[in-house]
């Protein structure tokens, strides 16, 4: 199947008073129709900025997409006109944000906010849009959906708000849904509801999903393929079972060891990754993980490793073969 979205060499920078922040440094990935891609990383690893860059939602200045292409069904998202990208955004690629409290306009009713994209993108009349909005509210399991359209965002609970957010994102049946930590602000039982909902809708609509999170657990049950990001680079990419069964980048290994699991058999000491993530003020000419890496040797301090194939569909950016502890060719 052809790639639905093909991103190559994306670089995004922010000019700040303290210097240039290199938020995304040459990120390349693709996604096929109907596929679910997980993007994992800690705060400030560039996962959100990557997605915002694709939708051209980076405030410029200070932000700047410095290089790269992002082909979506054959046309480049990064070079299309403002008019063209507006027809993609919200209609063919839509996004759900982390914080359901602040991503709504507090002075407009939910109904107004749900019908707006329908009228804009699909040219529906007010009555048609209203009808579709009721349908959407039912689709995301909001009880008394019709009455609740007249409510304001503050009248909904966090979980309900995130459902409305998803309804809004799905209103124009997009081909790609980007979910940026949509459950981080929610309780686990509500998180389970939302994940179940997205899975169901994904299968019904047949859309591709990019799910951004710092929680390796969520990705395990949801995604088919996973990207691990660190300091603005993709450092490992693999199908989900391969990544969890055979992680090959020291950072991925550390991340998995630092999590206690609900099904751990015995008490073990957590593996902590020493040190802190780097500041992004300079683009290092060495491996960005080297200062925290137990495997690092001479070459890691001289050359930034490339993301190279290390197995079937498995790529990692590391100069060390962690299996043997010896340098890679």
């Amino acid at each position: 199947m052809a790639d639905l979205l093909d991103v190559k060499g994306l670089e995004t920078r922010f000019k700040t008073r303290d210097g240039m922040v290199h938020a995304v440094n040459g990120v390349s990935f693709n996604i096929k129709e109907g596929e679910t891609l997980g993007v994992v990383g800690e705060s400030a690893c560039g996962k959100t900025v990557t997605m915002l860059s694709l939708l051209r939602l980076i405030p410029a200045p200070p932000g700047k997409i410095a290089a790269g292409t992002a082909l979506f069904q054959g046309s480049d998202l990064l070079t299309m006109t403002e008019e063209e990208i507006r027809h993609v955004r919200g209609a063919r690629i839509s996004m759900v944000f982390q914080d359901p409290m602040t991503s709504f306009n507090p002075v407009l009713t939910i109904g107004r906010q749900l019908t707006e994209p329908l009228e804009l993108h699909l040219g529906m009349s007010q009555a048609q849009a209203r009808e579709r909005a009721v349908e959407l509210m039912r689709m995301v399991n909001i009880p008394q959906g019709e009455d609740r359209l007249n409510d304001y965002p503050h009248q909904f609970s966090g979980g309900m708000r995130q459902r409305v957010m998803i309804a809004m994102a799905l209103s124009c049946t997009p081909q790609v849904l980007i979910a940026d930590e949509p459950t981080t602000a929610l309780d686990v039982t509500i998180q389970a509801q939302i994940i179940e909902l997205v899975k169901r809708l994904r299968d019904e609509i047949g859309m591709a999903v990019i799910w951004i999170t710092h929680d390796l657990g969520i990705i395990a049950g949801l995604a088919k393929r996973v990207l691990v990001m660190y300091a603005g680079y993709i450092i490992e990419e693999a199908p989900v079972k391969e990544l969890y069964g055979n992680p090959l980048h020291p950072y991925t290994i550390g991340l998995m060891g630092s999590l206690p699991r609900l099904d751990d058999q015995e008490h073990r000491r957590l593996i902590s990754i020493d040190g802190l993530p780097p500041t992004l003020y300079e683009k290092p000419n060495y491996c960005p993980f080297a200062p925290r890496c137990t495997y690092a040797y001479e070459r890691c301090w001289k050359e930034n490793p490339l993301l190279l194939p290390v197995g079937v569909d498995h790529r990692a950016a590391c100069w060390v073969d962690v299996k043997t502890g010896s340098p890679r060719e």
């Binding site: 800690e42 657990g217 395990a220 049950g221 989900v240 969890y244 206690p260 751990d264 990754i273 802190l276």
Partner: protein
């Protein structure tokens, strides 16, 4: 209270926050039932996990134990002293023995004080040390929590989240307490940093024989660190057992749902798991449901659940549960 192994005993603890109306003459029109009749004890040297979702009253429980909130009713015994009837100056002395680590390492450190002043302040307030002795003790504490003692004249904003939480730990340790209440100490931190702080807490516990009340919403972390675990829902404890017993045989339907909702970082396990998806949201604590508080979301709810409050029963030794259906 004969068992001298018990450090803290909470009996029928209740905390309501009044809701008032009116500006000059304030009338009470209702109450938030934050904590509604809970009882448990913590043994010396153990880690007691208190787990629940946001708004279930777990932080209020922690703060009410320390008498930062005055309880509406009920008793908190620390060793054999009832904290709820203690005079303020006596309570202040007791506070040396019990300290708190807060959730937000950004908000719980005064930005205008240096790290040395923050960590040294409890020593000065409680007149434990003076002058050069304070500085010496601060340096000792900083190196104990893995910070460079030379940083004592820096300000909190110069540190990362994980380092700030270490400062919070050093402050809590300053008076050599017996009990530390950890209120979500790692939930604001990145995954790779969480492990650092949890390992530090475990090391300090084995070094000083500390007792922890570990409040968190992250079930896997609570399971990792605790000896015994209590599960809270809407102001009450629904189940309490030793860690292994609770996770092997969860009896309350809420505990079961909570455990099944936590994702496991293993695709093979995730594929096979059966998830219990709870309907709806947690009801408001202003007007909690009659009878069993969980009945509005419970898959097993019957008539009796609306009529009668389930009894807090010891089902097997050291395993308590409040449910009609068990």
């Amino acid at each position: 209270m004969s068992d001298n192994n018990i450090l803290l005993r909470v009996e029928h603890l209740v905390k309501y926050f009044p809701i008032t109306r009116g500006i000059i003459v304030q009338r009470q029109v209702g109450a938030v039932h934050a904590v509604d009749d809970i009882s448990f004890f913590i043994k010396s040297g153990e880690t007691f996990g208190l787990v629940g979702e946001s708004g279930c009253g777990k932080s209020t429980t922690g703060r009410t134990i320390l008498q930062l909130y005055r309880p509406t009713s009920g008793h908190v015994y620390f060793e054999d002293t009832d904290l709820t009837t203690l005079k303020p100056e006596k309570m202040r002395l007791m506070r040396r023995r019990m300290q708190m680590i807060f959730q937000d390492p950004y908000a719980s450190l005064n930005p205008r004080m240096t790290v040395g002043e923050i960590v040294g302040e409890p020593l000065i307030i409680h007149q434990v040390a003076k002058g050069a002795a304070v500085e010496e003790r601060v340096e000792q504490l900083l190196s104990l929590v893995g910070l460079n003692p030379a940083f004592s004249n820096r300000y909190p904003h110069e540190f990362s989240g994980g380092q700030r939480q270490r400062i919070g730990v050093a402050r809590a340790l300053a008076l050599q307490p017996s009990l530390i209440i950890c209120d979500e100490p790692i939930s604001a931190l990145d995954v790779s940093i969480q492990a650092q702080v949890v390992n530090l807490l475990e090391d300090l516990q084995s070094q000083f024989g500390l007792t922890y009340l570990f409040i968190a919403h992250d079930l896997s972390m609570v399971r990792h660190i605790s000896n015994r675990v209590a599960v809270m829902y809407l102001g009450i404890i629904v189940e309490l057992a030793t860690r292994d017993e609770l996770f092997a045989h969860p009896l309350h339907p809420y505990t079961q749902a909570l455990m099944s909702a936590v994702p496991v970082a293993d695709p093979a396990v995730e594929e096979k798991r059966h998830r219990i998806i709870l309907e709806g949201d947690v009801p408001s604590p202003v007007n909690p449901p009659s009878g069993c508080r969980f009945r509005t979301r419970c898959p097993l709810a019957r008539e009796i659940c609306a009529e009668k409050v389930p009894e807090w029963r010891e089902i097997s030794p050291m395993h308590w549960v409040a449910c009609h259906m068990v």
